[in-house]
């Protein structure tokens, strides 16, 4: 979706403000929200892409006005309601009002370390890769209303395949409910001038990771 989360190239957000001696968490609740997200994710009801889409579909003013961990809180609230784990009335009340929904898996302390290691998103390929290193490709000009990892700032632009990463879970399909639908994933590199026009930094190159359905030969 063409949401405010898709920020590449936007103006007006001001300077980057690094914080000296920054703590890992700025308040204890931030750590709890991170842990809650990991614990709820371990139920296996949704994956990383569905979690992302839940945050992307927050109202634009809420998304832009919320800290990272507040977005994680609101995104998780959306998910637990959508998956029938928590009622809207319970969220409003701030406590359980109904018997807990049954879940297939439950996180235990012994399993917690496993949550901190990252799974692989690579899958066996059903077909050979369509493109190879050095091929010129044009990013599709498409504007799906669902989840996509094709940022707006590269749509319609021509780049070069720099690396073939293997066949990976396709986020657009997962969120659309089609399952993992693995596709070949490529690093595509663009000249800055191709993206940002004359007068932009001539030394700039920008790359993205792009799944095959995002690409046409150029």
């Amino acid at each position: 979706m063409n949401g405010v989360h898709d920020m590449g190239g936007m103006h007006g957000f001001g300077k980057v403000a690094p914080e000296a001696d920054e703590p890992v968490f700025h308040a204890p609740w931030e750590g709890r929200v991170l842990a809650m997200n990991r614990a709820m994710g371990s139920l296996g009801l949704w994956n990383i892409d569905i979690g992302r889409f839940s945050r992307e579909t927050l109202p634009p003013d809420v998304y832009l006005g919320s800290s990272y961990y507040r977005k994680w809180t609101l995104g998780l609230e959306n998910l637990v309601v959508r998956y029938g784990l928590v009622g809207e009335d319970e969220l409003a009340a701030g406590r359980a009002l109904h018997p807990a929904a049954p879940v297939k898996r439950r996180l235990t302390a012994a399993d917690a370390p496993k949550l901190l290691s990252r799974g692989s998103f690579e899958r066996p390929a059903a077909a050979p890769a369509r493109f190879t290193v050095g091929d010129r490709v044009r990013m599709k000009n498409m504007h799906p209303v669902g989840h996509t990892r094709l940022p707006r700032y590269i749509r319609g632009h021509v780049g070069v395949i720099e690396c073939v990463r293997g066949c990976h879970v396709f986020p657009d399909a997962v969120v659309a409910g089609r399952g993992e639908e693995p596709h070949w994933l490529y690093t595509v590199v663009f000249d800055g001038r191709e993206l940002w026009g004359e007068g932009s930094d001539p030394t700039l190159k920008v790359s993205v990771e792009a799944w095959e359905p995002y690409l046409d030969p150029a």
Partner: protein
């Protein structure tokens, strides 16, 4: 320079949780269009002819920058070189420390 314009993808397993600035709208919006401006916010200026490469982490692939070896460290061991490497140098918003800077840090 490594960024995630769509969310805040970051190599947690290697670098830990990301700093707030990495997840902020200013960084996510500007890194791909004005990386030199972003570097200036970190007090870093590169020669005009130095090529800038930005990696937008749009998939589950994660990236870190291998910092350039500072001058005067040719005979340093790997362990000693590692003391010059900062988190920001591995994100690409800073250079590795110089032997002079590490000496100052050690003295304070």
């Amino acid at each position: 320079m490594v960024v995630c314009t769509l969310c805040s993808c970051y190599p947690w397993e290697v670098l830990g949780l990301p700093p707030v600035w990495y997840k902020s709208s200013p960084y996510r919006s500007r890194a791909v269009i004005d990386p030199r401006g972003v570097l200036a916010d970190f007090g870093v200026t590169l020669p005009e002819e130095t090529e800038i490469r930005v990696w937008d982490s749009t998939a589950e692939t994660r990236f870190i920058v291998v910092p350039m070896r500072p001058a005067g460290t040719q005979d340093w061991s790997e362990e000693r070189l590692a003391t010059l490497v900062t988190r920001n140098a591995m994100i690409g918003t800073g250079l590795a420390l110089t032997p002079g800077e590490i000496a100052v840090t050690a003295a304070t």
